[in-house]
């Protein structure tokens, strides 16, 4: 049986509505209008132990709602959710013992005291034995490089440092499942990479299931084998990233640097290559290849016949474009 099973989940929210203006405001004192927003409509999926799953979708699609239901914070209107055999919102206390949660836009650390004080509080809240605690703490401090910041009050940490501390905080009690809600939001490149590497490491070494929501497609590409796409409250795609890529991206980008061809390549030569030009300058050429028409290898072969290649790279188009296409196809 899968570790996480979600079946036919529904959740609606009631949102108070009124138009602008004093008259409307006065009216709403006596009679309020509500609009029902369907955050989740029949969401079904299952996740096995040790998977890393990227949960993507535009803003307001229902990602966070699903995460909150799975972590026992929200009660759905209808549907089933079993995580390690437990129903999160019914068995909240024993359920949350087994999970770790990071909400990228919130903080679980005490603002005015050093990070280590927050950790010690978590140790007592989760009743972690001193032996396990020091073992986990050592490991986390080393892999996340927290040595220099652990005794600093949280308010003095940068966002990247804080996020590393948050990650450690959510793993002190050795959870089996980790929910990450936008863990890389607002981080610089170096911190993003550090966070990603860390997630990969703990997934591999401790076999922790990771469910990750993000808007940064590089996170998805670096971390996940499987993605769940949600839009307007429904699961639209469930599968691996490579399949998605081959389905939506028929293009490859070839960038070539070359020597011994001082002038800019003339149009006729380019035409004979069988690809469209993205950019062309002295010693450098970027081409877009439609893989349905011709193979990348053929293009490279032809190109090397014309110029003295110094360096060549083949890339898929940015994954953001891919996701955009996907959103468009499903009209979300």
């Amino acid at each position: 049986m899968s570790q996480i099973q979600v079946k036919g989940l529904y959740k609606t929210f009631k949102v108070a509505k009124r138009s602008a203006g004093l008259k409307e405001a006065a009216k709403s004192l006596f009679h309020r209008k509500y609009e029902i927003v369907e955050a989740l409509k029949d969401v079904t999926f299952s996740i096995d132990a040790g998977e890393i799953v990227g949960y993507i979708g535009p803003n307001g699609a229902g990602k966070s709602t699903t995460i909150k239901i799975m972590s026992g914070i929200l009660v759905p209107d209808r549907g089933e959710c079993r995580i390690m055999g437990r129903i999160p919102w019914k068995d909240r206390v024993s359920h949350v013992r087994e999970i770790g949660v990071v909400f990228g836009q919130r903080t679980q650390l005490w603002w005015d005291v050093p990070v280590i004080d927050s950790y010690e509080l978590l140790r007592d809240i989760y009743r972690i034995s001193h032996k396990d605690y020091s073992k986990n703490l050592d490991l986390l401090v080393n892999t996340l490089e927290l040595q220099d910041i652990i005794n600093t009050p949280v308010r003095q940490l940068s966002l990247g440092q804080r996020m590393r501390c948050e990650l450690a905080a959510s793993l002190l009690h050795s959870p089996k499942i980790l929910f990450l809600d936008e863990p890389t939001i607002g981080l610089d490149a170096a911190s993003k990479i550090a966070v990603r590497q860390f997630i990969k490491t703990i997934n591999r070494e401790r076999n922790i299931t990771v469910i990750l929501t993000t808007h940064d497609m590089n996170d998805i590409e670096a971390l996940t084998d499987r993605i769940l796409l949600i839009g307007r409250g429904q699961i639209l795609y469930d599968g691996n990233l490579e399949d998605l890529k081959s389905r939506f991206s028929d293009n490859k980008i070839i960038t070539a640097n070359f020597r011994g061809y001082d002038s800019i390549i003339d149009n006729q030569t380019i035409h004979s290559l069988g690809a469209t030009v993205v950019s062309c300058s002295r010693g450098r050429l970027t081409l877009k290849v439609d893989t349905r028409i011709c193979r990348v290898a053929d293009i490279i072969a032809r190109l090397s016949g014309v110029v003295d290649l110094a360096d060549i790279s083949v890339e898929s188009p940015p994954i953001d474009e891919l996701i955009l296409k996907l959103y468009k196809e499903y009209a979300i």
Binding site: G72, I73, L74, I99, V101, W110, E120, I125, R127
Partner: protein
């Protein structure tokens, strides 16, 4: 239990940092204390009948009031908990394997205790060296002092369980202003913070004795001054325990019901 103690400890560490606030508080409370005593002195000098409390007792009552203000005042509020609720950071709190009511209760007790620890000693010590009639007096017996400490702590727990109801109401109203204003104004008056209860008209005394607010301030202070003798103090403590039971059970029940319908909004 260890969890709650740990929350309590961290909160204490956290709040002991705010020394400047405590210093300012001490200064204000001296001022208030002096002002109160001056007013009572004037009243007592012109009293036609013998008041039910001696001036000495009132002076001590006032100083205790000022020293333990943070301990017992209902208007002392914990912004952090309000922010947790209104900002949605409570999401994290809900991901912890413990009872939210107990968790917050421990936080609130720690907040008041740390506040009082920083403030009460300078006020009390200096008040013993003031010239008459401003000087504070010792309790009549060691027994009275012992009972005072216990009833003060029980009173603290009663106040925190009343304030928990205010915090819980924020889940529904999203703003602490209304419930805070109503409960804390009524509470301050009926706890004897403005006029000691024995000096109130009889009909008002009846109302005050019926409500739980006096259990936190009026009762322990009068136990200290000996105005309530030890035997009566024990009955008072029993009433404190009964109220504590009622308030905690109601608070817990409300909290459970609200947790079922809570909606944490936003990413």
């Amino acid at each position: 239990m260890k969890t709650y103690f740990s929350v309590f400890r961290l909160r204490l560490i956290n709040n002991l940092q705010y020394r400047a606030a405590a210093l300012a508080g001490v200064a204000t409370q001296f001022f208030w204390g002096m002002m109160h005593i001056m007013i009572y002195e004037a009243f007592y000098a012109n009293a036609v009948s013998t008041p039910p409390m001696s001036l000495k007792q009132v002076v001590t009552y006032v100083w205790l009031q000022q020293a333990f203000l943070v301990f017992i005042a209902l208007w002392v509020r914990d912004e952090e908990i309000f922010n947790l609720i209104t900002s949605g950071n409570i999401a994290y709190e809900l991901c912890r394997p413990c009872n939210i009511y107990g968790f917050w209760y421990a936080k609130l007790i720690a907040q008041r205790l740390s506040g009082a620890m920083l403030r009460c000693f300078p006020i009390l010590i200096l008040a013993f060296f003031f010239p008459e009639p401003y000087r504070m007096t010792l309790p009549p017996s060691a027994m009275s002092f012992f009972l005072f400490i216990i009833s003060l702590l029980l009173g603290l727990m009663v106040v925190v369980s009343i304030s928990m109801l205010i915090y819980i109401s924020v889940f529904i109203t999203m703003s602490p202003v209304g419930s805070m204003l109503i409960i804390s104004t009524a509470g301050e008056f009926f706890s004897g913070m403005i006029i000691p209860i024995p000096l109130m008209p009889l009909w008002l005394q009846k109302v005050a004795y019926f409500l739980p607010f006096r259990l936190a301030a009026d009762m322990p202070f009068r136990v200290y001054t000996g105005h309530i003798p030890p035997a009566q103090a024990l009955t008072g403590m029993l009433i404190q325990l009964i109220w504590l039971g009622i308030l905690v059970l109601t608070g817990n029940a409300f909290m459970k019901r609200i947790m079922k319908r809570i909606v944490v909004q936003g990413g």
